[in-house]
């Protein structure tokens, strides 16, 4: 008893600093933000009296579309980042040890340049007179010209990815800059390292002889990647999803600089309300709304998954029991 108590105390002491840090920089600000939403605002940008006026103002018909767009773009960016990060992480983990640290270092290299500078560089790269734009136009023309001859699944893919509408390529997509495409592209560029790193960390611990075993038993390379490697690095993929999804949902610099008027996300709205309209309570309410939109489905998913796992485990136990009793009977 005694020993347990003292070890509990030691544990408490060692976790104290991080707990204090979390309380000071996460819990307290969150509570403050939440409290602000129940205040009005003053003309000179201050926080006013207790009132529900801020929440009442929030029924702007624009907001649901913006929230939906933000969530959709965050999913798109996360999807493409993971799709690209998986083969990258796999390839790095399979390199000779010497090369791994070099390549991992190279992936982190862009962080030595300011984020804003890099996004600004993309503005130049995607300029309507630039060669990326020229390539893109050619690609669109090829798609448009050949659309009718493409196999059905490719047509559907182009429509699904937004490169084409039902009949032909969408002319409103003609410029990349100041469009949703630019925001997704540069977001993927920016957050790809955050997706590669956790997957790579998981892949480095992965036992690659398992892939050989799968091949040995008749699996193709792709099948063993999907059925053995992917489940093996699942934990890394989950953290990668969080590492990308969470910052993208709150991002405002990239849509601000590359999205033009077409792509205004919730982050931009919060920025506008806080900095231009000087309405801190309103900005706080938007932030709270966004957090709830993300946290509620996430919590539900986690709860559902845990329940599913428990159910699976029980199912396996039941099968084992049944096997044992039937084995005993025969």
């Amino acid at each position: 008893m005694n020993g347990r108590k003292s070890s509990g105390k030691a544990e408490w002491l060692t976790t104290m600093p991080s707990l204090a840090w979390l309380a000071l920089f996460f819990a307290v600000p969150s509570v403050i933000v939440l409290a602000f939403t129940f205040h009005g605002h003053t003309a000179n940008g201050g926080v006013g009296e207790w009132s529900l006026s801020t929440w009442r103002e929030l029924v702007d018909p624009d907001y649901p579309t913006i929230v939906w767009k933000t969530v959709r773009i965050s999913f798109e960016v996360t999807f493409w980042s993971i799709i690209l990060a998986l083969p990258c992480a796999y390839a790095i983990a399979r390199m000779p040890k010497r090369w791994r640290s070099v390549v991992a270092g190279a992936i982190m290299l862009p962080f030595w340049t300011s984020f804003v500078v890099r996004v600004f560089a993309w503005k130049t790269l995607l300029h309507p007179d630039g060669w990326l734009q020229a390539c893109y136009l050619t690609w669109l023309k090829v798609c448009d010209w050949s659309f009718g001859w493409l196999p059905g699944f490719l047509q559907r893919f182009l429509v699904w990815t937004g490169f084409a509408t039902a009949g032909h390529v969408d002319p409103s997509l003609a410029t990349i800059l100041d469009s949703e495409t630019a925001v997704v592209l540069v977001s993927v560029y920016t957050f790809l390292p955050f997706a590669i790193m956790p997957i790579y960390t998981a892949a480095e611990k992965f036992d690659f002889s398992l892939l050989e075993a799968a091949r040995d038993l008749g699996a193709t390379n792709f099948y063993s990647f999907r059925k053995i490697f992917l489940p093996g690095v699942r934990q890394g993929v989950v953290s990668a999803v969080l590492m990308v999804f969470i910052p993208v949902i709150g991002s405002y610099v990239i849509p601000q600089m590359l999205g033009g008027t077409e792509c205004i996300l919730i982050g931009n709205k919060i920025f506008m309300r806080a900095m231009q309209n000087r309405n801190i309570p309103h900005a706080s309410a938007l932030a709270t709304l966004m957090a709830v939109t993300v946290l509620v489905p996430m919590g539900a998913a986690m709860w559902w998954k845990r329940r599913q796992e428990a159910r699976d485990r029980r199912k396996l136990d039941v099968r084992t029991n049944r096997l044992m009793t039937s084995g005993g009977a025969s």
Binding site: D207, S209, L210, E212, A213, A214, R215, D216, L217, G218, A219, T220, Y223, I228, P231, G232, R234, L316, D317, R319, T320, L323, M324, G327
Partner: protein
């Protein structure tokens, strides 16, 4: 040659400057329990990996049932491997691990269930079917790995030191089980080991590998009794070497004059001439140790040498002696087929005799 079941035809594999497998030719028969035996780093695993499709030979061909499989990827050969570390899929249950190859072969659901359950019964693991690999003991994992590789009836099963990670007791148990499984399924097993005991007790034939080459390929008894080289003789079991020159030949027998040892008579099965140098190998269990010289009726021409007892290790079943005779340290093994305590004890520093019949020595590597 191509008509044989499995053929390695002049197969060579290099890693940079190192030749891991050097011009290996061998044939394996259908249903055989075939062992590759050799010291660490001699190229056994490399041979298996070429057969499994994980390495490509630099030259030479591999044929399986007359078909050239040298360039086929692993998933297109019906050759399965039991890996040294088992390589069970940690995210799947035992049942799914075993069903893996059947599902890939797009077998019907009923058939898969039937086959998996049957093999689970065979390895006596039915009650563990819905556990995950990390919930099993070493021996259980081992059996699952074998079942997973056997369930869709491959043409050849490769086992790369499958018992190396198990403790002695379990290893002995698994040896018997492995033998039983082989008898049941009748599939060709190729078994890699550096443990001569395992190879001897399981195999129909053994290939002794050294530095990427096959030194000898034969049935276990031949390998043990008639090793083709000094390496094989010393790698398989203990032996005493007497190196010297043949001084005379008398009919079927010859006399060898080793350095620092009296002349020895030996059976001249290789028809060697006087003047040739040979290594004579005499296994410890062939050498008798007695306090008195053997009676004359034990035979004429018998090799008898006085020796001083230096070390004794009593093992119950037998006693091992090390004796100094001439300039040689001779090891001898005395089995206890009679009640030991009734006999006259041989102790340290006794003056004794070592003796053996000329037929019991074997001449290797005439140079």
């Amino acid at each position: 040659m191509k008509d044989d079941f499995l053929v390695f035809d002049h197969v060579t594999k290099r890693f940079g400057a190192l030749t891991a497998v050097d011009d290996v030719c061998l044939t394996v028969k259908r249903g055989e329990f075939f062992s590759l035996l050799g010291p660490s780093g001699c190229g056994k695993t490399t041979l298996l990996r070429m057969l499994g499709g994980f390495e490509r030979p630099d030259s030479g061909r591999i044929y399986l049932e007359g078909r050239d499989i040298t360039d086929l990827p692993p998933n297109q050969r019906r050759v399965h491997t039991v890996f040294q570390n088992y390589a069970l899929f940690p995210t799947m249950t035992i049942w799914d691990n075993i069903a893996f190859s059947l599902k890939l072969a797009k077998k019907e659901k009923g058939e898969i269930e039937e086959k998996v359950n049957a093999i689970l019964g065979m390895i006596q693991m039915s009650e563990h079917a819905w556990k995950y690999p990390n919930q099993l003991s070493g021996g259980q994992k081992q059996r699952v790995a074998i079942a997973r590789a056997l369930v869709d009836r491959p043409q050849v099963l490769l086992l790369d030191e499958p018992l190396a990670a198990l403790d002695l007791k379990l290893r002995q148990h698994m040896l018997i089980e492995l033998d039983a499984i082989h008898d049941q399924v009748g599939i060709t097993f190729i078994y890699v080991t550096h443990d001569q005991g395992e190879a001897m007790s399981l195999s129909d034939r053994i290939a002794v590998v050294n530095k990427g080459r096959i030194e000898q390929l034969d049935v276990p008894a031949k390998i043990y009794e008639a090793p083709s080289s000094r390496f094989v003789a010393s790698f398989i079991g203990d032996t005493n070497f007497f190196s010297g020159e043949i001084v005379s030949v008398e009919g079927d027998y010859c006399t060898i004059q080793p350095e620092g040892f009296p002349a020895i008579s030996a059976y001249n099965d290789k028809n060697l001439k006087a003047g040739q140098r040979v290594d004579l190998s005499v296994r410890p269990e062939k050498i008798r140790v007695t306090l008195n010289p053997p009676l004359p009726e034990k035979g004429a021409g018998i090799n008898v040498f006085p020796a001083k007892v230096k070390d004794i290790v009593y093992q119950g079943v037998y006693t091992k002696y090390w004796l100094q005779s001439g300039g040689m340290r001779v090891s001898a093994l005395k089995p206890h087929s009679r009640f030991l305590l009734d006999q006259e004890a041989i102790t340290w520093n006794d003056d004794a005799f070592v003796w053996w019949h000329p037929d019991d020595g074997y001449m290797v590597e005439a140079k």
